[in-house]
Each structure stands twice: as structure tokens, then as C-alpha cells.
């Protein structure tokens, strides 16, 4: 169930546009923010809000990269695997992340903190190799930098540290 | 009066004997042909019914008689039924003028060993052999099947063509013997058989005779691989058997005629006359089988060319030569 204020908020937002369905991606992002990922319930709620059929929303949710239909961690790390990053050390970064977090691409750490997902070019080729952490970019990465980043996040989320 | 009656009895006895012998011989000729043909082809031939398959003809006869007589729905029924009998009957009738030996004298009566000694026996034979064509042509036509029809047409064309050569080939023989009667012809050969003086005539006669009896290599009317079985494709059971009998009686008739015209008929040393005739007949039949086992079938145009372009001219030339020789020798 969506919290009343979020629902209200979305309803007001939708009321301002002429076609409710044009906001479906924004609604999905907001609901995703609430649940962490798009649960089946979330799909139905988004559908109801936008006046669409659930399967129409599902069509979009399964289409886009940034709508997660499966559970993800608190921090979603998108690792760019397109050609420039690939040329400049994507392999190293990916392997380092996988071994450091002890998961494969597409998986979530058991503590629910990190999810690793490959992504196509994120437009930071000048700072390759680059990753997005919750859509915030981190470029020109080295293993040392990654260590810092992950340690910092882990520090900020003590509850998740086992 | 009694003479009249005894003559009839005698005739009937002769009929019975000749018919029985012919049919028996025909049956065993089939056996012999199958057996010999098999050996020519390194096979065994019939060997299941009796020792050496000797009971095979009887088995065949039983089968033929008991098999269903199928008449095609579209066939011309009466003619279809009649045709085989024409073939068989004409073949059998030809034997009426074939002499088996000198006349016997029993109880003071002179019994000629021929069913009837016609003074135009030769013509009688030609007439019957021409009639045989009707059986083939009618059978082929009445079946209302394209294979049969083609077979019948071929048969008619072939027999008409070779009839001529056959007749011409015998003109020298008649010239030599001076008679149309078969008895006279045989008697004329008491010294030497005509084959010695008329080898060309013999060859033409033999080839034409084979063509007349539709034997390989002249079996185009029934050519199995192109026409099914030709004019008798649609026949089954004993009606088919009649065609079969006709063919094998024909072989015997031709064997006998060859013997009569060229091999001195029943003349021969040591053995009784009719045995000689039999031996000569069988010999000719065996030669025919041997030819069958060796030669492939002619093509239709080859067949016609052989008949018209080779055999007829050759026999004509032979007649002139023979006539000239007779005139010269006197």
C-alpha cells in the first residue's frame, strides 16, 4: 500500500496534466522510490493512478532500464559496459566490484545494500570507467576509489553491516 | 453303314487321342519351358510340385480352373468371352491335317494316321492361322483396356505381316512336292528332308512361325514391360488359360509343321513314325525355348522391317531360284 501522502502527491501531479498516462514513468519512479523496486502491487497502483491497465504499466516497467521489477539493494550500482569504459578498464572494475561485494552482475548483496547491474553508456565517457550509484555518477575509477566509495556507503549504513 | 459308323468311331478316337496328347503335351511344354528357361538362367525352375516340379502343370491347371473369372465391367462381354476360345480352337484345329505316320491297317481296315488328309491341307493351315488373329484382335478390343487394345492391334499387324512370309516360304516346298496335301509332302520327303534343299525356305518359315506364335523375340502383342500382358491383360482364370493353351498348342503345331515341311515328317529310321514326329516336334519346341532364353524382344519397327523388308523378298527370291532350278533340272 502506498502511503496516503505519496498517493495524494501523485494524484495532484497527475491532475495537472491532460493525459494521465504521460506521467507513468515519473509515477513508477516515485513508487519505486517508496518500495525500493516495483512490486506487483506497485504496478497495479501505478496503473490505477494513471488510468491504465496493469499490463500496460507492466509493459513499460519491463522495458526500461531504470525501473526495477525485481528486488534491488539500497544502492544500485550501474556499471557502464559500453565501448569507451570497456576500452578503459571496465573488466577490472567489474571484477573488482564482484569480488569485493561477492556477488555476480545482476545480484544483490545478502545485506540488501548493493545491487550490481551493467548499463549501457551513461554519458561519462570523458571520465571512464564510470559507474552510477543510485543514479549519481562516479568516474575515472580505480580499485582504490571503489574501496573508498563502498566503505563510505557502508559507514553511512551501519545497520546493514553484519 | 458299319463302315460309316466305324469311320466315325475311328475319327472320334483319333480326335480324343490327338486332343489328349496335344493338351498333355501343351501342359508339359509349359513345364519344360519353365524348367529349361530356368536352367538357361542358372535357376531351378519349378521344383515344389512333385519331383522336379513334375506336378506343376496339374497344379497350374487346378489353379486356372478354380480362379475367379473376372470380366471387366466395361468389357464387351460376349466378344470378351469368345476371344480365348477362338485362339485355342484355331490352334487345335490346325492339327487336323498333320499326319503322324503311314496308315495303319487294323482288322483289314486302312486307317490313315491323320485326322483328315485334305488335299488342300496347306491352305487349311493358312486359313486357320489367319483366323487365330481374330482371337487376339477381338480379345484385345473387347477388354476395353488400352493395354489390351494396343496388344491386340500389334498382334493383328504382326500376324498379317508374317502370314505372307510364312506362305511364301512354303511355296518352294509345294513346288517340290507338287501337292498341297501334307501327307503327300511328307511322303515326298521319304528320301531326304527338304531342309537340305531348301535351307532358306526353312529359315524364313521358322522365323515367321515364331512370329506367328508370338514367341520371344516376337512377343510384342503381350510385351509385359510396356503393355502389362497385352491383349490378355484383362483375362483371368481358365479364360486366360485358353490363351495359354492356344499358345502352347501353336508351338506344337508349328513344331509339327516344321517337321512335316522340312524335316521329313514322321520319316526316320529305327523308331516308329509318330515317335519321330514327336521327337522332331519337341526338338523344334526346345529350340524355340532356347531362343527365348537367349534373344531379347525386337522393337516394333525392327519387327516390321524384318518381316516386310527381309523375309518377304528373301522368300520371293527363293521361289524364283527354286522354280529356275526345277525348270533346269527338269
Amino acid at each position: 500500500m502506498l502511503p496516503a501522502d505519496l498517493k495524494k502527491n501523485l494524484q495532484t501531479k497527475i491532475a495537472t496534466v491532460s493525459h494521465p498516462r504521460e506521467l507513468v514513468v515519473d509515477v513508477l519512479f516515485d513508487i519505486q522510490m517508496h518500495y525500493g523496486h516495483l512490486t506487483d502491487e506497485a504496478i497495479h497502483e501505478a496503473a490505477e493512478l494513471c488510468g491504465m491497465a496493469p499490463v500496460e504499466v507492466e509493459e513499460l516497467a519491463t522495458f526500461y532500464t531504470f525501473t526495477f521489477r525485481e528486488p534491488v539493494g539500497k544502492y544500485v550500482i550501474h556499471v557502464c559496459d559500453s565501448v569507451v569504459c570497456w576500452m578503459n578498464g571496465y573488466q577490472t572494475i567489474r571484477e573488482y566490484l564482484c569480488s569485493k561485494l561477492n556477488i555476480n552482475m545482476g545480484e544483490t548483496t545478502p545485506d540488501g545494500l548493493f545491487t550490481l547491474i551493467p548499463v549501457c553508456c551513461i554519458g561519462y565517457c570523458d571520465r571512464s570507467p564510470a559507474i552510477l550509484v543510485n543514479r549519481k555518477v562516479h568516474g575515472s575509477l580505480t580499485p582504490a576509489k571503489l574501496d573508498q566509495l563502498i566503505e563510505k556507503i557502508k559507514m553511512e549504513n551501519p545497520a546493514h553491516v553484519e | 453303314m458299319t463302315l460309316w459308323i466305324s469311320g466315325y468311331i475311328l475319327l472320334l478316337v483319333k480326335f480324343g487321342l490327338v486332343l489328349g496328347c496335344l493338351l498333355f503335351l501343351a501342359a508339359y511344354l509349359v513345364w519344360a519351358e519353365r524348367k529349361l528357361l530356368a536352367r538357361l538362367q542358372i535357376r531351378y525352375g519349378p521344383n515344389r510340385a512333385g519331383k522336379f516340379g513334375l506336378l506343376q502343370p496339374i497344379a497350374d491347371a487346378v489353379k486356372m480352373i478354380t480362379k475367379e473369372d473376372i470380366i471387366p465391367a466395361e468389357a464387351d462381354q460376349s466378344i470378351f468371352l469368345l476371344a480365348p476360345t477362338v485362339v485355342a480352337a484355331t490352334a487345335l484345329l490346325m492339327f487336323a491335317v498333320v499326319p503322324f505316320g503311314e496308315s495303319l491297317a487294323i482288322m483289314g481296315q486302312r486307317i490313315p494316321l491323320v485326322i483328315t488328309d485334305l488335299n488342300v491341307g496347306l491352305l487349311f493351315i493358312f486359313a486357320l492361322s489367319s483366323l487365330g488373329v481374330y482371337g487376339v484382335a477381338l480379345g484385345g478390343w473387347a477388354s476395353n483396356s488400352k493395354y489390351s487394345l494396343l496388344g491386340g492391334i500389334r498382334g493383328a499387324a504382326q500376324m498379317i505381316s508374317y502370314e505372307l512370309a510364312l506362305g511364301l516360304s512354303l511355296v518352294p516346298v509345294v513346288m517340290l512336292a507338287g501337292s498341297f496335301s501334307l501327307v503327300d509332302i511328307v511322303n515326298a520327303q521319304s528320301g531326304y528332308p527338304y531342309i537340305l534343299v531348301q535351307p532358306v525356305s526353312f529359315a524364313v518359315f521358322f522365323i515367321s512361325a515364331m512370329a506367328e506364335s508370338k514367341r520371344i523375340p516376337f512377343d510384342l502383342p503381350e510385351a509385359e514391360n510396356e503393355l502389362g500382358a497385352g491383349y490378355h491383360t484383362e483375362y483371368s482364370g481358365m479364360r486366360f488359360g485358353l490363351f495359354f493353351i492356344g499358345e502352347y498348342v501353336h508351338i506344337q503345331v508349328l513344331g509339327a509343321l516344321t517337321a512335316v515341311f522340312f524335316l521329313g515328317g514322321w520319316h526316320g529310321p529305327f523308331l516308329p513314325p509318330f515317335v519321330w514326329l514327336l521327337v522332331k516336334m519337341i526338338f523344334i519346341a526346345l529350340v524355340m525355348i532356347w531362343i527365348r532364353g537367349t534373344l531379347p524382344r525386337l522393337r516394333y519397327d525392327q519387327l516390321m522391317a524384318l518381316g516386310w523388308k527381309v523375309l518377304v523378298p528373301v522368300s520371293l527370291v527363293n521361289i524364283i531360284v527354286t522354280g529356275a532350278v526345277i525348270l533346269m533340272v527338269g
Partner: protein
């Protein structure tokens, strides 16, 4: 002149050729026949001879026939009939399968059409019966307990349908099932 000579020669050769032919056949008269005496002498037929039809089994001993009707469709004499049905595990099979050997002409088209190698022709050819109804073979009569000529083949390993052979994606040359809701791009 030369032409006539040549013609003479050709007639001569023809006659000798015919003569040779007669000689050959005559010689054959004295050779021992090569015929095999069938019921007394029996010989092993090649494995691919086409005679009695069987229904073979998978390597694991299960029915191969999926009752796809291809053999009955291709049969030129319409001697095969069957009814397909589904097993609880999702396999398609023949609820009944019947071949009328009274009609069968042993052409082998059914075997060629069979996509699962189930129906096969065997060299077993002595199948004459007096009662024509006994020539109608049911599934039980046709089934054998081996894989015949193609012993290793298992159709369900390749077909891609979910059965007890394995779920989707577990068969030969298959990727695991697509997860359409995956977070992976």
C-alpha cells in the same frame, strides 16, 4: 565395295554375337543354379530392409511416439491410424495406435516422416496370417523395448517443451528461460 564389305562384316559380327549369345545360354544349362531355396535356406536381411513396423522407445525406456500424425498423413495406403493424447507430465503420446498390415505396402515413408524415430521398419518379414483381422496391429503389438536404429535419440531432449524430461530451458542447445522482469538490461 568397302561399304559392302563393312556391311558383310557387320552381318558377320551380328551373327557371331548371336551365336555367342546362344553359346552362353547353352553353357548355362550345365551350371549349378545359384538360386537360394528360401524356406529351407534363410539368410540374414540387412538392418535397413523394410518389413514389419515397430514402435521404438527412448533410451530411458519411454514411449517415443508423440502421435503427431505425420506417419498416417504420409502413408500412401492409409494403413496407420491413431489418437493423440496428453500425459499429466505434458508429454504427447498415442492413446491408441493402429497399423493395418493387411494394407501396409512397406514403403517406409512413415519411418522417413517420423520426427522422433519412433516408427521404424524391421527386417522381420514373415507376417502372413489367414485371418485378415489379425493383421491389424495395436500399439501393444507394435511396441518394442529398444530404440531400434537410432538408439540414442530422445525427442524431448530437443523439442523445447516442458515435460518430465525437464523444464523449459533445460534441454539441448537451449538458454535458460528468459526472465522478462529481470533487472539486467
Amino acid at each position: 565395295m568397302t561399304e559392302i564389305q563393312q556391311k558383310n562384316i557387320s552381318i558377320l559380327t551380328a551373327i557371331t554375337a548371336i551365336g555367342q549369345g546362344f553359346a552362353t545360354t547353352f553353357k548355362h544349362l550345365f551350371r549349378k543354379p545359384i538360386t537360394e531355396q528360401y524356406p529351407e535356406e534363410k539368410r540374414e536381411l540387412p538392418a535397413r530392409s523394410r518389413a514389419r513396423i515397430v514402435l521404438t522407445r527412448d533410451p530411458d525406456g519411454r514411449e517415443r511416439c508423440v502421435a503427431c500424425y505425420l506417419c498416417s498423413a504420409v502413408c500412401p495406403v492409409s494403413c496407420i491410424s491413431m489418437q493423440s493424447a496428453e500425459k499429466p507430465d505434458g508429454r504427447r503420446y498415442a492413446a491408441w495406435f493402429r497399423i493395418n498390415f493387411g494394407r501396409c505396402i512397406y514403403c517406409g515413408l512413415c519411418e522417413e516422416a517420423c520426427p522422433t524415430s519412433a516408427i521404424q521398419l524391421t527386417p522381420d518379414f514373415e507376417n502372413c496370417r489367414r485371418d485378415i483381422l489379425t493383421l491389424v496391429y495395436e500399439k501393444e503389438d507394435l511396441q518394442v523395448d529398444h530404440g531400434g536404429k537410432d538408439a540414442a535419440y530422445n525427442f524431448y531432449e530437443y523439442a523445447g517443451v516442458a515435460t518430465d524430461e525437464g523444464p523449459k530451458g533445460s534441454h539441448e542447445k537451449e538458454s535458460p528461460p528468459v526472465n522478462v522482469r529481470s533487472n539486467m538490461p
